[in-house]
């Protein structure tokens, strides 16, 4: 049947002059390409080797390559329409590899894919389908860039992108048009030459523009650091993080040159969306500009002209940028690397940052409170001390041990564990895991904290840890690995979800049962997260009357995914399962992988007032708009940020409860030990 369909026309003979011209053009085009690409490659290869890089295990790399590059899954999933349009272009390029090779070969009479043969004919039709989709796709992308103009693409119109789109369109159009003429027709030759010229013009443009991602990003995706937001260890006595060009590693340089400037990172960045200086795309382009101007052997500082210190310290390390990036750029290690460079050399001067560092140099917790306060809390709450016989070590963390709201969460979680008959104990002494200093780039204090904690856990023979704080969980499990082998650890959402079927569902009330059960009324605690009193323990022991019997009200709960539980740990369903014990779940517009940060991460909850809008207020407004009567959290930092945001809102703010508190709601009264 295919014989009735038109045949692809290609010129049969080429004159000596044509052969000469073609050869000359190919050489010129290849030279134009290599002139720039060779330079880029040299800059990447001349960068420092990544000290901790291992190609193995290779399985995950292959999978990422197949899924993200070949299937274009990330490109499509996060922006379906333009993603699909891009995928059509990409798949057409793949399909065209053979066609293009043959296109060039026919000049010298060594064509291998005859449009008249059965296989050739089939393949040409196959490619034609892709060409059709590609033409539609590239036209769509053109319309998007030049007419729709989403702000993430930047204020400047990229004319070279328009030109590239035109070239791709011409390539596809000439290919498709060739089906409608005969081989002998002179216009076949014309079409062939237009196709050739478009192709040879396209090639040298690639390395000069963001279209370099065509060549680099498959490698970038394949050569990732191996896990999400992974902070590489420093190597040797002269490595303080990303200080100058000599500190840029091959992966950083490769990633900087891979950026396709799509702006997805910026679109999802909590800092960029609340009027701050930080724009993750510009950070990557700043590194690229540095490499272009100065190269990887320069000892000029990375921060200053090309990237700004202020911007770098506005990152909450929520990882939305890295998660979204379709070309495999790992923003978090780069941003943290720049911070390390500034902090490890003492270049960063910030009164709140210094205060945090000094508190952790000398003391045990990030809040700068006396550990005696933690002891008092443990006594008052009658938390058992870990003695090696219990199954779990309940890690309190700074928030669980010192913050009034964090303590409520611990109290609720302890109640549930008591109910379930789980044996657990808390350490007599605990130091901060080092999460905020790790993310702010203070490797000295981080190392001290990690080593002291690892030693204490080993001395106490701790095998399993459970914690209410995703930041503690992440830091203990991943970041401490640099200094030893941490015990197994899980987040309380994972623990609770495992026992969800053993926990009673609650007939919901609008009152907070915790204040009754724990015997403390924390509701008057100071609440501005950055005020000195905010995190001070304010335990009132005045007896609180039992809540009046209230009618069950339909409870709508919106769960906020903490960055360090979701994107960092891939835990999305467990906290929802737990929260649903207490009511009906609704979702915020941005949830699960696309959850919007509360603003606390990356040590930022300890720094001064934000510029622009507060991240926490933006997210809180989004949660309130769902109409939920309760906001469920699974991180004491998120909780603290929203507590402040809701206080600012005043009347009508929803109730704010951790999933542990939601799980404890249904327990019979008096279950506390």
């Amino acid at each position: 049947m295919i014989l009735f369909l038109p045949t692809f026309a290609e010129p049969q003979h080429f004159s000596f002059f044509e052969k000469l011209l073609f050869t000359g053009l190919v050489l010129a085009s290849a030279y134009g390409f290599w002139r720039r690409f060779g330079l880029v490659l040299k800059k990447i290869l001349k960068s420092k080797k990544d000290p901790s890089f291992h190609l193995f295990p290779i399985g995950k790399r292959v999978w990422d390559f197949v899924w993200e590059v070949l299937c274009q899954a990330k490109v499509i999933r996060e922006r379906p329409l333009p993603g699909l349009a891009h995928a059509f272009v990409f798949w057409a390029f793949c399909a065209f590899a053979l066609v293009t090779l043959n296109h060039c070969a026919v000049v010298f009479g060594i064509g291998f894919l005859s449009p008249a043969g059965t296989i050739g004919r089939l393949y040409y039709y196959f490619a034609a389908v892709f060409a059709l989709f590609c033409a539609v796709g590239i036209a769509g992308l053109f319309v998007r860039r030049f007419l729709v103009r989403p702000k993430w693409l930047g204020a400047r119109l990229s004319w070279e992108s328009g030109f590239i789109a035109l070239l791709i369109f011409v390539l596809m159009a000439t290919y498709l048009a060739s089906f409608f003429i005969a081989d002998a027709d002179p216009s076949a030759r014309t079409l062939w030459w237009i196709h050739t010229l478009a192709l040879l013009t396209f090639l040298p443009i690639i390395p000069y523009t963001k279209h370099l991602h065509l060549i680099l990003s498959p490698a970038t995706v394949f050569l990732s650091r191996g896990s999400f937001a992974q902070i590489p260890p420093l190597s040797g006595d002269e490595d303080f993080g990303l200080v100058a060009g000599t500190d840029l590693t091959r992966l950083v340089s490769l990633q900087a040159y891979s950026c396709v400037e799509c702006g997805r990172c910026t679109e999802h960045c909590p800092a960029a969306n609340t009027g701050k200086l930080l724009n993750p795309k510009e950070i990557i382009l700043g590194v690229r500009a540095y490499l272009n101007d100065l190269g990887p052997s320069s000892d000029q500082p990375l921060l200053g002209k090309y990237n700004q210190q202020e911007a770098v310290f506005q990152c909450t390390t929520c990882g939305a940028c890295e998660f979204q990036c379709p070309v495999g750029i790992e923003h978090v290690p780069i941003l943290v690397g720049l911070r390390r460079g500034a902090v490890n050399t003492g270049a960063w001067e910030d009164q709140y940052g210094s205060k945090l560092f000094l508190a952790l140099e000398r003391g045990s917790n990030a809040l700068g409170i006396s550990p005696a306060e933690r002891d008092k809390f443990i006594q008052k709450q009658q938390l058992p001390i870990f003695d090696g016989t219990q199954e779990y070590c309940l890690w309190l963390g700074c928030m669980g041990g010192y913050d009034p709201k964090g303590r409520e969460i611990v109290a609720a979680f302890a109640r549930v564990m008591n109910y379930l008959g789980t044996s657990y104990g808390v350490l007599r002494k605990e130091k901060c895991t080092g999460d905020p200093v790790r993310r702010l780039g203070n490797d000295l204090v981080f190392q001290q904290l990690a080593e002291a904690n690892l030693e204490a856990l080993a001395q106490n023979k701790v095998k399993k840890i459970v914690s209410i704080c995703p930041h503690c969980v992440r830091t203990i499990q991943e970041d401490w690995k640099e200094y030893g082998t941490p015990p197994e650890i899980e987040h309380h959402s994972e623990f609770l979800a495992r026992f969800a079927d053993k926990l009673p569902r609650s007939t919901t009330t609008a009152t907070n049962p915790e204040s009754f059960v724990s015997g403390h009324d924390f509701s008057h605690a100071a609440s501005a997260p950055n005020s000195p009193g905010a995190l001070a323990p304010e335990v009132r022991s005045s007896p609180v009357p039992a809540p009046a019997a209230s009618h069950p009200v339909p409870e709508k709960i919106v769960f906020h995914d903490p960055c360090y539980l979701g994107r960092y740990r891939n835990v999305y369903d467990q906290p929802r399962e737990v929260a649903s014990l207490a009511g009906e779940l609704v979702e915020a517009p941005r949830h699960r992988e696309r959850s919007f940060c509360c603003g606390a991460g990356g040590g930022l909850s300890f720094l001064g007032e934000e510029t622009g809008e507060r991240v926490s207020h933006v997210r809180a407004a989004e949660l309130v708009a769902t109409g939920a009567t309760t906001v469920g959290t699974a991180c004491p930092f998120c909780n603290s940020m929203f507590r402040d945001a809701f206080d600012a809102k005043g009347e009508g703010a929803p109730q704010l409860l951790d999933i542990a508190q939601l799980a404890a709601r249904g327990l019979p009264p008096g279950e506390a030990s």
Partner: protein, 259 residues
């Protein structure tokens, strides 16, 4: 300007202090140590003075008395920016009185011929507040205490002293001099990884009481140390309500002094 900073290593503020078996000193096992707070401010003041007159050059030398573990605190001081250190190794610091320690410090500092000697106002463990002053006396130098701020002048120094109830006193004195520094006058800097790595290459000279030729028995002998007793006492005031109330007011006024 060559500045000597005398620093002391003290138990960490959060440490749970226990008394040793003999009751003569604290049990030092399992104890975490840190730099005495006002000494940290003395070091900060010295570093800032050096940085302000960077063109003129200068040197900050830390000196400390104590056992091997003091080396850790000395390294931290070097990491924050001190140029070199003198460690007077001595295992019986608990038995030495302020005069004894000051004699060791004075003997070690004297050959250095410094322009300025700074130290913290007092230590967080014994809190005698005398060592700096005695060093000045032993070296025959002028001194000033409770200093919040030091300024270099043409002829010497202008310093700000903290008095009671929010009053300050500004005085001038010639150099060389000894100043004891009050906490809170400056913002402390944080230790950096680069500082710690660089500190490894800095000189720490170890001396002993014997090598300094200082060996005199203490003038003040520590009898025993004890933890403060927690006391709770209840007193019933007898009499009629009126008499009891009058007695209560009396006690609140003159015994508890809250009225």
């Amino acid at each position: 300007m060559k500045i000597i900073v005398a620093i002391k290593q003290v138990p960490e503020r959060d440490a749970q202090v226990r008394i040793d078996a003999a009751g003569k000193w604290i049990d030092e096992s399992n104890l975490q140590y840190a730099l005495n707070e006002s000494d940290a401010y003395a070091l900060e003041e010295a570093l800032q003075l050096k940085e302000k007159s960077a063109a003129a050059g200068g040197e900050v030398v830390v000196v400390s008395v104590g056992p091997e573990r003091v080396g850790q605190t000395i390294r931290e001081a070097l990491a924050k920016g001190a140029d070199r250190a003198i460690h007077i190794v001595c295992d019986d610091l608990g038995l030495r009185d302020a005069l004894g320690v000051a004699r060791l410090l004075a003997a070690a500092v004297k050959p250095e011929n410094p322009d300025l000697i700074l130290t913290g106002l007092q230590s967080e463990d014994l809190g005698l507040g005398q060592t700096g002053v005695i060093v000045a006396e032993l070296l025959g130098l002028p001194h000033a205490t409770l200093i919040l701020n030091v300024e270099k002048t043409e002829t010497g120094l202008k310093v700000k002293r903290e008095l009671e109830e929010g009053w300050f006193q500004t005085i001038e004195l010639p150099t060389p001099a000894v100043l004891t520094i009050q906490s809170g006058g400056n913002k402390l800097r944080y230790a950096t990884l680069m500082g710690i790595k660089r500190a490894k290459m800095k000189e720490v000279r170890q001396l002993t009481a014997a090598s300094l030729g200082v060996d005199a028995p203490p003038v003040v002998v520590l009898e025993h140390v004890a933890l403060p007793q927690k006391q709770k006492s209840t007193q019933i005031l007898p009499g009629t309500a009126k008499e009891a109330a009058a007695a209560l007011v009396e006690k609140l006024k003159f015994e508890v002094r809250v009225l």
